[in-house]
Amino acid sequence: MVTDVPVWVQLVYLAAAICFVLALKGLSSPGTARRGNLLGAGAAVVATAVVFFERDLDHVVPILVAIAVGSVVGVVGSRRVQMTQMPQLVALFNGVGGGAAALVALLELHELVGSAVPAVVLVATVFTVLVGSVSFAGSVVTFAKLQELMTTRPVVFPGLPVAFVVALVGAVVLGALVVADPVVWVGVVIAVLGLVVGVLLVLPVGGADVPIVISLLNAFTGLTVAAGGYVLGNTLLLVAGTLVGASGTLLTVMMARGMGRSVTNTLFGALKGGSTLGAGEASDRPVRSANAEDVAIMLGYADRVIVVPGYGLAVAQAQHTLRELVEVLAARGTTVDYAIHPVAGRMPGHMNVLLAEAQVPYEQLREMDDVNGEFPQADVVLVVGANDVVNPAARTSPGAPIYGMPILDADQGRQVVFMKRSMRPGFAGIENELLFEPRTTLLFGDAKEQMGKLLNAVKAL
């Protein structure tokens, strides 16, 4: 641990830490969120500049080049990404942060070898190596699931729990060895075991629960950074990492509660079996389908319409056309609301971001608890690219992976129209009984194309 950091540098770190607290505070409320984020970014820039004055550093030029490279990658990545793909980008950013922390801890271990260090410093170092690697590997698997590079369904194979426990226990035992006698290559083995633990931790998590895992890994990375801050004797890292760790943990619990699950159930539910319901295949049971003109008539002569938008809407980039359709209906005298499920999209609050992008007025976005009582009065419930969030299986079949998740009561509507690409089940991979009900009508096809036809047909009424 380095002690003689100049006082003014320490004070700048304190100021940056305060800014991070205010940034998080600002991010918690809509009016101040953007300012909060900018404040955090400003603090990060200042802290990064000041660190060069903390002590004499070698290799300044290569470091600056590396920062430039990372900045370009970060800016280009976050500017180019589609809003629909944002959750996986956040997962990826989180992963590289965890990876960076693990590498920092390994290098610190290398420096500590041979010097007399208190055991508690070594414990923190090992913790950073292990949890940073878990966060990195877990985030990469999360990314692959969200990007649909691999199946979104829970992946469980016999022996997975055993392998998980063996890797974790092995890492902890080796960690104890490192604390007793610091050796760098053992640290590297711990990192590798951490990667294995991370992969095995996320594989059994089903697609719909992935957002909770992103949040959890985010909290992990925060704690890793905090431990790294302790090892390096840097208060800013300690405070910033702890803030993220604590707030991230709370956020994870809140999200899990929003889906009616506990965090442990999210992570390990698939291992207990019982979530194998549904084949993930298209069903061939009979359904009632219609064309855009039929649906236009239903909508055009309804007094009350509730739209349930889902991720499929955003994937098809149909949210602008949907907004136009709602405007035309409103001009005809129909009352239209959007019912937003807390986890609609791929992350909590994701759908609000996607509809805001399409300039849907904030007042038309209704939260689940607020709008659920009004479904029985709705003449038509228009479900666009959503599935799991209106699946009554969440109420009725205890075996289903989404059982217990609060849902939008679309099945209470007088008529239900589903706009869907195919009969494929939703992200959670289970069949939706609502599709087969007599008052349900299906409008198959690409959401954007069908929405355009629907818009024209309503205009022509």
Binding site: L27, P30, T48, V96, L238, A246, L251, V353, E367
Partner: protein, 103 residues
Amino acid sequence: MNPDVVWLTIFVLSVFVGVEVVSKVSSTLHTPLMSGANAIHGIILVGAILVTGSADTTLTLVVGLVAVVLATVNLVGGFVVTDRMLQMFGARRRPVAKTDGDR
């Protein structure tokens, strides 16, 4: 006072602050909040710079520089993507602002 106890004190108080600041957030803001918190832990960049600056072999230098790149991606990308999200939240609140922008 024992320095380790000082560290522990900072840690414990930070936990309370971290819990307190997000305890009343609405689900609408969960995504930007997670993304913003994600950006903040990119401050590990400070640690990456410190260890890289005292690298004594080519291998440690290379590993350090990799850590610097990764941490920068986390930090810069995190803040930029959060801002992009929040920009959209703000956009709908002033659609009229375009009409009279002279001042």
